[in-house]
Symmetry: C2
Subunit: 303 residues, 2 copies
């Protein structure tokens, strides 16, 4: 199945204790698309400015990512600048320049409207709902959001969530959305808003996947070299949704296996700046790391 | 195999957002012994004051815990007072009164000296080493420690660690002991100090078990009701070492299964104040929760 993704394409400037990257390729839809493209065809809906270079466009197009929905608007591309300390779990945002992203109105090319799998990356929930309305008969809709929308556009977000099958957010966002400190109770409240599956991202502690009747826990891969966590969450979503689209298996077993593939992809992204590690990673490396996740988590049962 | 444990027996006063307990039974050796006693016989070495009531002594003795090494010293029993906020991962210590624990000199009764499994709970590393010297031919020595000893008695701690097979400490202590922010690198440095296995406790995020050639990740059980995290780490150690002693299987597979049993026991402790939940828990409940850990973590492999 083809995956439709709507989100941001950006230039990131990132400082970590291990180095820095200036105006490197970033953005939620970029990380998502690149990770998902290892598994399925991707249709990208986003906006860039006139400064977006040919080389980035060529990189994405070469990866089975359809750029017919990538608008070029007058002005500059979205820019984000951030810094991480030794605790790599949380970025400190230094600068955000929305630029052309500020007036973004997602428009699906006619041939994108039959997409069966849809991922709404972290954008205004009103725009997320606009995208859902433009897709004819999606089989799976997943979305991300953030504290900014949970606090500032709650009603619109709640309307969007009614249309969503899988919500992929982090731990703090789950607690904020539910107004509840206990994560298990918070997850139950969030599932009551519409999504049948809630994926809670916990950074270096992995993910928890909640459904009405089950919980699945997947660790993050313990890495010796974490250079830059930027894009890890969107890469996770790309591997996760990518695997679901490739198999068409949306059962609980399918979701669990896809969760591990999402974690595998995210574990590569953080090993280098920007999309550098995803550019190099091979399918053999992806399968090898999947097997390492099995070795990492397996234990014997009761006799 | 019989387990020898040396550590503290205390009265805890604990406030959490969900209630409070005043001068309830606590202490590292108490939680450890009670959890371990579900799996194997326990020999307790600790000190209490003259105020330690008969009912607590009877509770421990009724659980296959040999109290021949429980000294009664003139004065009052160790008291700790702490508070947890909604983030239940870290306690704020309000008061510590060492009382009789201050002059504690562990003395093993003659019949304790043949113990095959030894757990050195969090006490002065010089005393831990004293205990090791009093045991004849232990097959397995495990220990805990804390930031106070890592910072203040590092040389003594390093000497103790040379004698230790399994070190059980938390994430921050691992980083502090190694002087390294990356947990995988830190774990490797700690293993170089002597222990063949390092168990890193991460509170609600579970545990990571490091050996020279492998990593095992076990989640904590996601609970809807966490009343009081006090003693969770010592309870984990009790279930973990208890299962190792019961099976005598110190192989990697044995350590992994024991890790899950440790996590199972800890998941009960936090469901109520003090040892209240451990007092009630049944073997059937322990096995049922072990199976829930399997359901929580299992996923399908590659085709």
């Amino acid at each position: 199945m083809e995956i439709l993704v709507v989100g941001s394409v950006a230039f990131d400037s990132v400082e970590t204790p291990f180095g820095q990257g200036d105006e490197v390729l970033g953005g939620s839809a970029t990380y998502f698309s690149t990770a998902a493209s290892f598994f399925a065809g991707v249709r990208l809906v986003a906006v860039v400015g006139e400064d977006f270079p040919r080389e980035h466009r060529d990189f994405l197009a070469a990866r089975n990512i359809d750029l017919a929905g990538l608008q070029v608007a007058p002005g500059r591309t979205f820019r984000w600048k951030g810094r991480y300390g030794f605790d790599l779990n949380e970025a400190q945002t230094l600068e955000t320049h929305l630029n052309v992203f500020e007036g973004f109105q997602p428009q699906l090319p006619e041939n994108f409207r039959d997409s069966e799998v849809v991922f709404l990356a972290n954008i205004d929930p009103e725009l997320q709902l606009e995208v859902v309305r433009q897709v004819r008969r999606p089989r799976l809709i997943a979305c991300d959001t953030m504290n900014f929308w949970i606090g500032g556009k709650r009603e619109a977000l709640v309307r969007t969530l009614r249309e969503v099958d899988i919500l992929v957010i982090n731990e703090g966002e789950t607690r904020q959305l539910a107004g509840e400190a206990n994560l298990v109770k918070a997850a139950r409240s969030v599932l009551a808003l519409g999504p049948k599956t809630l994926v809670v991202k916990r950074g270096e502690y992995g993910v928890l996947v909640f459904t009405a009747h089950s919980i699945f826990s997947a660790p993050a891969y313990p890495l010796e070299e974490v250079f830059d966590p930027t894009g890890a969450g969107d890469t996770f979503a790309g591997g996760f949704i990518g695997h679901l689209a490739a198999t068409g298996d949306f059962s609980e077993a399918g979701v669990r296996k896809a969760t591990v593939f999402g974690s595998v992809m995210a574990s590569f992204t953080v090993e280098d700046f920007s999309l550098n590690r995803l550019r190099r990673v091979t399918w053999a490396e992806i399968e090898e790391r999947f097997r390492k996740f099995q070795a990492l988590t397996s234990f014997e049962g009761l006799d």
